[in-house]
């Protein structure tokens, strides 16, 4: 009976595809996905706008790079495997598993269209990373297989900017070390079952094998990671990250917030992951294991001991002097005397566990951990920090859940830090039908809640002092046209940095998308954001409205099999308090050459920008060498050009070269302080080699 039903579905799935779609889909199995690329770029851009710091996004691309080399077999993939892929939501995953259970293995990739929730855009998005095969995976533990299928690579990168900033001049009292940046990485992997390696990085201005860095690089990271070994589903030693629940209590991996994918707001924690990035702050160092207790219960245990940088002060008490830390520094830069003094001056110890119940439509997890610092953390006397965490020890407990009912996915997390009220986040994703999906999210983070490892969807950088309601929609007009929009209404019950009163705000985004085929995407985006900021021209520093409106037109389309053009025009209007409206403008043209089986590919960008001041800056993603990311803020008046070329000399030897040039036409210097350059132009050069064996 099942076979007959399956055959009908198969025929039906063919009939609903027009010939163009079939052709595109077949091509896409072999080719890249511009849509997916655009999606990642969008996410990273929006992340950077909020974070305003340099972040290594390689976690994101490494995962997809793995699946593009080893596509996930949709006929054998488990729930956990599909979550780890990171491209499907829970409703889609459950619908796929139910379909497989009912009708047996998928016959063809086209059959995906017959599954609820799998629209053409979703299929385009996952196609480069999945396959349909009937055989079981060959990835098992045996020494012969490990020797045969394992891969190693060594990667090294050199970055230099010139002319040199004032901080590098002799006797300037500025940067201690040389102006170049150096990055080295080694990685061994056997599918996704075994990975070990190290990363070493020297940032600009840091010393190298001398002075404060006699050991060479400023930052070293090591990891050892195994999956499916005996009773252990995962074992991590060295540096690792944890992703649990909705990220309220524990999420040290990359965490994206509000994006133009307005309904994808639920986090799907992937548990224990190896840490292979060069971010120097947000990871754990020690050991972690995941154990399968029964068919439905999983147990996690983790411990971490590492040093971090803190801004410390010594205070006099009646009996003795006490050293305390007012804040932890996340930059990872140790290139001045002050930053070197702060290096590793706080010892952080963490021990915790998690138990997780995985039923077909219900997941519940309980996480508990104890965090200890060797010196007390005492926030500054600024009023806005009045309720910040104070002390040496913190015990966090949290419960998270995810429940599927028909096409509705309820999810949430409640976390308690032992002080005041618990923090909570609850959401719903609802795929009403093919044309309409909805997402709702309520979050409430009390002003005295502190989660050092938390990273849920939030307006602020940390889950503290925020109460908000988010609503997102996706309306599909046809296979090619769809509209995504969200509105986020937030309230800050207590003071914030540079906001001397409780305040509120709103963020609204609407994006009309047109994707005539899998390699083209056009969209128009409107974004409105209003928050309060102290208006400093008055003595009383009254928080007044700070509004930004952004209009963006973006086109990415192939002009041949090998060339893709990307064009963007973006206008930002900024109105602050009683000041007049100021404008920011960015336009760029990209030419991308990427031909299958060609050893050479390149990207060229020509951009012009014009903003009234730094406050009207506009961020734009730039292609960079593998595992390096550039999302500069374009501000003032000028132009920027970059050229990136990748050359595969041999199957196992790849070279990258990138040159980026910025020219200001309205000023004669760049930067300020130690980064001041007495020239209106600067050029950054990057060179990278990867050898695989």
């Amino acid at each position: 009976m099942n076979k007959h039903v399956k055959f009908i579905i198969f025929l039906f799935s063919f009939s609903i595809l027009n010939s163009q779609v079939v052709t595109d889909t077949v091509k896409s199995i072999q080719g890249d996905s511009l849509l997916q690329e655009e999606n990642i770029e969008n996410k990273i851009e929006q992340f950077t706008e909020k974070a305003e710091q340099e972040v290594d996004f390689s976690e994101l691309t490494q995962n997809l790079e793995y699946y593009s080399r080893h596509p996930l077999n949709l006929n054998t993939a488990t729930y956990e495997d599909l979550v780890k892929l990171g491209l499907l939501n829970d409703i889609q995953i459950r619908n796929l598993l139910t379909h497989r259970q009912k009708y047996g293995k998928l016959i063809s990739i086209y059959e995906l269209q017959a599954i609820d929730g799998f629209d053409l855009q979703t299929i385009y998005r996952i196609l480069p990373y999945v396959k349909i095969a009937s055989e079981e995976s060959k990835t098992s533990w045996s020494l012969r297989n490990v020797k045969k299928y394992s891969k190693s690579f060594v990667l090294t990168r050199f970055t230099h900017t010139f002319p040199l900033a004032e901080g590098y001049k002799k006797d300037s009292g500025g940067y201690l070390g040389s102006p170049y940046k150096l990055y080295v990485r080694y990685n061994f992997s056997y599918f996704n079952l075994l990975s070990f390696g190290f990363t070493a990085e020297k940032d600009q201005g840091e010393e190298f094998f001398k002075g404060s860095q006699k050991q060479g690089f400023d930052f070293y990271s090591y990891h050892f990671y195994m999956r499916n070994v005996g009773p252990f589903l995962a074992v991590a030693l060295g540096d690792y990250t944890l992703e649990f629940g909705q990220g309220l209590a524990m999420w040290t991996g990359l965490s994206f917030g509000k994006t133009s994918d307005a309904i994808y707001i639920k986090k799907s924690g992937r548990g224990i992951l190896p840490y292979r990035s060069a971010n120097e702050f947000n990871f754990l160092r020690g050991a972690a294991v995941q154990l399968k207790l029964t068919k439905y219960f999983y147990l996690y245990g983790f411990t971490s001991m590492r040093a971090k940088d803190g801004s410390g002060i010594t205070t006099d008490s009646i009996n003795q002097e006490e050293y305390t830390i007012s804040s932890l520094n996340e930059s990872g830069l140790h290139n001045t005397t002050t930053s070197v003094e702060r290096k590793n001056n706080v010892k952080e110890n963490l021990i915790g566990s998690r138990i997780q119940l995985n039923l077909n439509r219900l997941q519940v997890g309980y996480t508990s951990y104890l965090l200890h610092f060797n010196v007390p953390v005492v926030p500054s006397s600024d009023l806005y920090q009045q309720f910040y965490f104070s002390g040496k020890q913190q015990w966090i407990n949290s419960i998270d859940y995810s429940f599927l009912y028909r096409n509705m996915n309820f999810f949430g997390e409640v976390a308690y830090d032992g002080d005041g009220l618990p923090a909570q986040i609850h959401g719903l994703m609802y795929a009403a039908n093919y044309h309409y999906s909805l997402a709702l999210l309520y979050r409430d983070f009390p002003r005295d809640f502190t989660s050092f490892f938390g990273s849920p969807l939030s307006e602020g950088s940390k889950p503290i002092n925020e109460r908000a309601l988010y609503m997102g929609h996706e309306i599909k007009f046809s296979k090619q046209w769809w509209l995504s929009s969200y509105i986020d209404l937030f309230h800050f019950p207590w003071l914030r940095y540079q906001v001397d009163a409780p305040s509120d705000g709103v963020e609204f985004l609407s994006q009309l998308n047109y994707a005539p085929n899998k390699r083209s995407q056009f969209y128009f985006r409107y974004k409105y954001e209003s928050k309060k900021n102290n208006f400093s021209e008055t003595y009383a520093k009254i928080p007044l409205d700070n509004r930004k409106q952004t209009f963006r037109i973006h086109a990415a389309y192939p002009i041949s099999d090998a060339f893709v053009f990307k064009t963007r025009v973006e206008i930002l209007l900024h109105k602050y308090a009683t000041e007049s409206t100021k404008m920011g403008f960015l336009a760029y043209q990209d030419v991308v050459f990427r031909k299958k089986n060609s050893p050479l590919n390149f990207t060229l960008r020509l951009a012009t920008f014009d903003t009234y001041s730094y406050d009207e800056r506009i961020y734009a993603y730039e292609n960079d060498v593998l595992y390096s990311y550039s999302i500069p803020a374009y501000y003032y008046k000028g132009s920027r050009t970059y050229f990136l070329v990748k050359y595969r000399a041999r199957k196992n030897l790849e070279y990258w070269f990138r040159i980026a040039h910025t020219l200001y036409v309205d000023r004669t210097t760049m930067g300020s302080g130690l980064d001041l350059i007495n020239n209106p132009a600067k050029t950054e050069v990057k060179f990278q080699i990867r050898y695989t064996f």
């Binding site: 005539p516 389309y557 002009i559 064009t567 403008f585 020509l606 012009t608 132009s639 050009t641 036409v665």
Partner: protein, 282 residues
């Protein structure tokens, strides 16, 4: 008196149309609101160097455009277009003159444009400018630069275009650190039916605010087309017409800007073999 007049004109040009001495205005484009970067029906390498790739016959055109009806702010140019056989590419050469004796620019542009497949064209202009003013900080200055443009037919109705002028930004004067501006234009043309085309461009000239241009062109018959459009920031209203005769295109336009007044231009395009043919709309 003459010096004062020259100075006024100079300030006008530098502050309002600093780019216009390098990129001429054309009546056929002005008539449709100044929008035309994605338009395939003209042959102006200053509007998009890629456009001549679609031209199939050797063609010559000349244009005169009087900005604000002032001879001193007028553009004059002549262009020769020579397509190679079998769509191997198109060579063009343009001579342009802007200004008057005390302040003028003479430009020479050599263009090569090529179709890649049926949907895409790419063009490059290599430019040589000779600038001359009585201003002591500028004096005489010769500059080399280049321009690039592309046009892409996304489907039967929608065409996209991008044009970049002078990405290398050579200096005009060392003393005042002024450079020839970078200009970025992108736009689209949408053909509602065989008779009606809508065009929209966004243009950014460095150090100036971005401008928008929207235009419409309606064909009454195979011989007469009417145009109208508007430009934003600064606001202007545009109108024009194109007459197609055997071997000949005649175009005429007028535009009105509330503060600076009227501008007008006339252009003639002549096909050396037969009627200028544009493959894109046929």
């Amino acid at each position: 008196m003459k010096i004062r007049f020259v100075s006024i004109i100079f300030v006008l040009i530098v502050s309002l149309h600093a780019w216009s001495q390098f990129i001429n205005a054309y009546p056929q484009i002005s008539g449709q609101g100044g929008a035309g970067v994605a338009d395939l029906s003209h042959a102006y390498i200053d509007v998009n160097p890629a456009v001549v790739a679609w031209i199939e016959e050797p063609t010559i055109h000349t244009n005169y455009f009087a900005r604000f009806l002032l001879t001193e702010l007028s553009d004059e140019n002549i262009t020769f277009i020579y397509p190679l056989k079998d769509k191997q590419g198109t060579f063009s050469g343009e001579l342009l003159y802007t200004g008057f004796s005390a302040l003028h620019t003479i430009g020479t542009k050599i263009n090569f444009a090529k179709q890649f497949g049926e949907k895409f064209s790419l063009g490059l202009n290599f430019d040589y400018f000779q600038l001359a003013t009585d201003q002591e900080y500028y004096g005489r200055k010769n500059s080399f630069t280049f321009e690039a443009g592309a046009q892409y037919k996304l489907n039967e109705k929608l065409i996209l275009g991008t044009y970049l002028f002078n990405p290398i930004q050579p200096k005009l004067s060392v003393i005042v650190n002024e450079r020839i501006p970078f200009v970025f234009v992108t736009g689209a043309a949408y053909r509602f039916n065989d008779n009606f085309v809508m065009l929209a461009d966004i243009k950014k000239i460095q150090k100036q605010e971005p401008t928008g241009h929207v235009g419409f062109r309606y064909s009454f018959s195979s011989k007469v087309q009417l145009q109208t459009g508007t430009s934003l920031n600064p606001f202007g209203i545009h109108a024009g017409s194109i007459f197609t005769l055997p071997k000949l295109h005649l175009s005429w336009s007028i535009q009105y800007q509330p503060i600076l007044g009227f501008s007008s231009g006339i252009g003639i395009m002549y096909a050396l073999n037969r009627q200028p043919k544009n493959s894109s709309y046929e």
